[in-house]
């Protein structure tokens, strides 16, 4: 479905607050190498920070895969956040601004979606959640 070539890939486990910092630093490195503008780097790293925290807090931990990708002559950064947590029962609700099942502001998922170009959310009860995002170089 994503239909892009992967040029370089890295996996970061997300099992502690430290790992959330490490995940966003990894995404920042890829965004810089890919040549994203400063604003786009900032948007992507911020989205990654929100999603990595969700993986830890709501998914009970998991991992992030970050990759440099190419599609139809464009280069970009792709990041996938996966957990084997309880899943999200109502995806539409989870993507609503201000809705939270925890103690957050409810801006993590909905905000992250606005900050990236491609956003894909897949979740099943008792199986886990996978969120994929891509930011393309302009």
């Amino acid at each position: 479905m994503t239909g892009h070539e992967v040029e370089q890939e890295e996996t970061v486990p997300i099992t502690s607050n430290d790992d959330v910092v490490r995940a966003r630093q990894t995404v920042r490195t890829y965004a810089q190498q890919c040549g994203l503008s400063l604003v786009d780097q900032t948007k992507l790293v911020t989205a990654a920070s929100e999603l990595a925290r969700n993986t830890l807090v709501y998914g009970g931990g998991g991992r992030m895969r970050c990759a440099a990708v190419r599609r139809a002559g464009r280069v970009g950064v792709h990041a996938v956040f996966e957990d084997r947590g309880p899943g999200i029962p109502d995806l539409d609700l989870a993507l609503t601004d201000g809705w939270t099942s925890g103690g957050g502001l409810g801006l993590g998922l909905s905000g992250a979606r606005r900050l990236v170009d491609d956003f894909d959310l897949h979740s099943e009860p008792a199986t886990g959640t996978r969120v994929s995002v891509t930011k393309w170089k302009r």
Partner: protein, 125 residues
């Protein structure tokens, strides 16, 4: 044990300069430490310098908003200084415009803002 962000006191003002990529527990500790230091020192102002921060996500954004609200209840005013343009653009798009947080572009301007406040307060009958 996570690291703690140092809080400096200059006269009536507490100054925090965030220099590293913060993990969430450090962010929460800073919020608590600031509340305690405001009361312990009777400071009238807090300046949080985020010049070095490459991103502010919803967690750090919430800490800034909470700290501004908490300090106001403790009779101190908070000013956030040094926000990068890309950070401002991203925060607004994320959905956090930090309405209750006062900002200044530089540390100098932030301190001047607090000084003006203090003068206005003491001038009142």
């Amino acid at each position: 044990m996570s690291d703690r962000v140092p809080i400096l006191r200059i006269g009536q003002v507490l100054l925090v300069s965030i220099q590293i990529d913060l993990e969430d527990q450090t962010v929460l500790d800073l919020q608590d430490d600031l509340a305690e230091r405001i009361v312990a020192t009777g400071a009238g102002g807090v300046v949080i310098d985020i010049t070095a921060l490459e991103i502010v996500d919803s967690f750090v954004g919430r800490m800034l908003a909470n700290t501004a609200a908490i300090s106001r209840m403790l009779d101190a005013e908070t000013v956030v200084v040094g926000m990068r343009p890309a950070v401002a653009i991203t925060l607004v798009e994320l959905g956090l415009s930090l309405g209750g947080v006062r900002t200044a572009l530089t540390l100098d301007k932030g301190l001047a803002l607090l000084e003006r406040d203090r003068t206005a307060r003491t001038a009142r009958p």
